[in-house]
């Protein structure tokens, strides 16, 4: 299909979809998977209360109740949710695999027959699985496939859609690329205030609350810097810089030239040819293929420093457990961290949702831990309506005025102030306070926004700057060019006493040729929901 939209002549419009089961009230939050289709999980989640989690089928345009998240504390302002697709369901592979059948040995929450072969959207895709041949004597390869069948078990056998190029060995690893919904309650912190819902096996887990504010309030703004979130011109698994080599037959990656116990030197060609020194500090380097040293595969490390390209030398914070060979392949990715602003503070709360401790050369965050100084404190406290837009979806300009490492923080609290965190600006990042941008919009209580890396060159974050009864409340911020501009307003006029809540979600649509951003907006103080397909 073709986008025949004629700019200036044609017009976009919001369209009604089925109303949400629960109306917006303070603290209600929408969360969505920002991978491009068909990889993204086909549901938007609506965290309603301590006991209600709904989901919206983005294919069928319908809602249903999912589960009680059983959150602790008192639900209200400060509560929220964020989705991260990586590292949600990991396990070991046993003996007896074939190129299309995976035998697993790690006990999971029991799954039903073929439950993993349909994610519930429209039924044409099951969950994506990553097979990691990193056992001793393994293939040294990583490949991804769709699950088309599975047995009913806590250790299900999984059938793949197409054969792998290798037969997985006993001791290899797998990762179901489903994702987790991370949910934060409000009020006085409790042991169950921070929980995760894993969407493949449908399991709930309480996570640490250490280093979070003793009482959660004001508002919630969180983003996931996930390794599967990539620029608009890349596919999940390729990282942020498309390389000149491939793994998994089609995913682009880079090739190492030399390595040491704590370094990896890239080649003179490929996507990291022109990177600046430390442009990707605090990002992740992941070994995606090493047929010489198979056990080196799938190692993730935080880059503490690196030199400029060509042949950049990446120094990792934690030494390699197994030094990759000089023919290893790698990708540069987001670091799998949640960045949270909360409770009227200047703190950037950083959560490590990987399965290992990370170290960037100066600071360690243990897995399942929050750290309050991994990145420096913000220049100003966040207020109601605050929002963050990452910029991993763009292709930085040649002068690198725009970068993947920039995270845009609108302070909220009835201000137009924009602060920018550069996560690579130093060991703990750097902040630019109150930066100049075009088209300032006051971010009031009730405002919310979400980044959309799917189309429009990954440039925009979409936001509702809430003003009761005002027609024009919808805007988008260009994270590449620092421009805020109004876009198509809703025909239903939002009104009512302002209440905080992350009411906007974005997801990708694919018509076979083009990718489109779709915005889902839960109307303020209402169950009414509308979608906007962004055509220009």
């Amino acid at each position: 299909m073709t986008n025949n939209f004629k700019k200036v002549i044609d017009r976009q419009m919001w369209v009604h979809v089925a109303p949400a089961p629960n109306a917006h009230a303070a603290g209600i939050s929408l969360a969505c998977d920002l991978r491009k289709p068909p990889y993204r999980h086909p549901f938007v989640f609506e965290l309603v209360s301590n006991t209600v989690l709904n989901r919206y089928n983005i294919v069928q345009k319908a809602w249903n109740f999912v589960v009680s998240p059983a959150l602790g504390g008192t639900f209200g302002a400060g509560a929220g949710a964020v989705y991260a697709p990586s590292l949600s369901l990991l396990g070991a592979i046993g003996a007896g695999c074939s190129t299309t059948t995976i035998v697993t040995t790690t006990a999971l929450t029991a799954v039903g027959v073929n439950m993993l072969a349909n994610r519930g959207g429209s039924g044409e895709y099951g969950f994506r699985i990553r097979i990691i041949g990193n056992s001793a004597g393994g293939s040294g390869k990583i490949e991804e496939r769709w699950i088309v069948a599975n047995s009913a078990s806590t250790t299900p056998a999984m059938i793949l859609d197409t054969p792998l190029s290798f037969t997985p060995a006993n001791g290899d690893k797998y990762e179901v690329l489903g994702g987790r919904l991370f949910m934060l309650g409000a009020g006085t912190l409790a042991a169950t205030s921070f929980r995760a819902f894993e969407v493949a096996a449908n399991s709930l887990t309480s996570l640490t609350t250490t280093n979070l504010p003793a009482t959660i309030g004001t508002d919630f703004s969180a983003i996931a810097l996930d390794e599967l979130y990539v620029p608009y011109d890349c596919y999940p698994g390729e990282g942020l810089l498309p390389g000149s080599l491939t793994y998994n037959s089609e995913l682009r990656c880079h090739g190492a030239v030399t390595t040491s116990t704590n370094t990896l030197t890239g080649s003179t060609t490929g996507g990291d040819l022109r990177i600046l020194a430390n442009e990707y500090r605090n990002f992740q380097i992941r070994i995606v293929e090493d047929t010489v040293n198979p056990t080196a595969v799938n190692q993730r490390r935080i880059i503490s420093t690196h030199t400029a390209g060509p042949s950049p030398v990446y120094t990792v914070g934690t030494n390699w457990s197994v030094t990759p060979s000089a023919t290893a392949k790698y990708v540069i990715e987001n670091p799998n961290l949640i960045l949270l602003r909360s409770t009227a503070s200047t703190t950037m709360h950083v959560y490590n949702y990987t399965d290992m401790n990370i170290y960037n050369g100066s600071t360690t965050i243990a897995f399942n831990s929050w750290h309050n100084t991994y990145f420096g404190t913000a220049p100003g406290a966040m207020g109601a309506g605050c929002m963050q837009f990452p910029s991993y979806g763009i292709r930085p300009d040649s002068a690198k005025f725009s970068r993947h490492s920039y995270v845009y923080n609108f302070r909220g609290g009835n201000s137009t102030t924009l602060d920018v965190l550069n996560i690579s600006g130093g060991a703990s990042g750097t902040w630019d306070a109150n930066v100049v941008y075009d088209g300032g919009v006051t971010i009031n209580t009730g405002s919310c926004g979400k980044y959309a890396p799917h189309d429009q060159e990954g440039r925009f974050g979409y936001l509702n700057s809430y003003v009761a009864s005002q027609v024009n409340q919808i805007h988008r911020f260009d994270v590449q060019n620092r421009v805020m501009s109004p876009i198509t307003p809703t025909d239903w006029i939002q009104a009512g006493t302002a209440a905080v809540g992350d009411r906007i979600a974005t997801f990708g649509a694919f018509d076979g040729v083009d990718y489109y951003t779709v915005c889902l907006l839960l109307m303020h103080a209402s169950t009414i929901a509308q979608e906007l397909i962004v055509l220009n």
């Binding site: 025949n4 369209v15 018509d511």
Partner: protein, 149 residues
């Protein structure tokens, strides 16, 4: 015992009119008193039976400090007339009736202007909001969806 009690002054006697009655088992004379009104050197007899001229009648008047019934009556009547001409459901600023009404059943022939309909529950069993939503969806199909073809 006959009525009247003679009294005398010197050799002249005359009767004081009385009426003989028995009261408390005792027969006694009760003096007959004749009322008259009049200014100095004037006497107007009042005790003529039957309807008389005013000068022969007992005037009945209110005390001088008694509130005027007439004034109250006037105010009362005024209130009645005001209530009739401008009832509580009449909005004098808009010069029209102000009412929250429920039509239990029946036919509304003509509706000129409806400012806001807060809720429209059902139209022949279809949710009333579909009027707006379906129009919105149709417009979207024409304006947006048709551009992706």
């Amino acid at each position: 015992m006959s009525d009247g009690v003679p009294v005398g002054q010197g050799s002249t006697t005359f009767n004081i009119a009385t009426d003989v009655v028995v009261r408390n088992s005792v027969t006694e004379h009760q003096q007959v008193v004749k009322l008259s009104l009049g200014s100095e050197n004037e006497c107007k007899s009042l005790l003529t039976s039957g309807s008389q001229l005013s000068e022969n009648s007992m005037p009945v008047v209110l005390s001088s400090d008694h509130p005027s019934i007439w004034l109250e009556l006037v105010n009362w009547m005024k209130s009645i007339f005001q209530a009739l001409s401008k009832p509580c459901f009449w909005d004098p600023t808009l010069n029209r009736i102000r009412a929250t009404s429920t039509i239990e059943s029946g036919t509304v022939t003509t509706v000129t202007t409806v400012t806001t309909v807060t809720g429209l529950t059902n139209i022949n069993s279809y949710p009333g909001s579909l009027l707006v939503i379906n129009q919105n969806v149709s417009a979207w199909a024409n304006i947006v969806r048709s551009r992706i073809s």
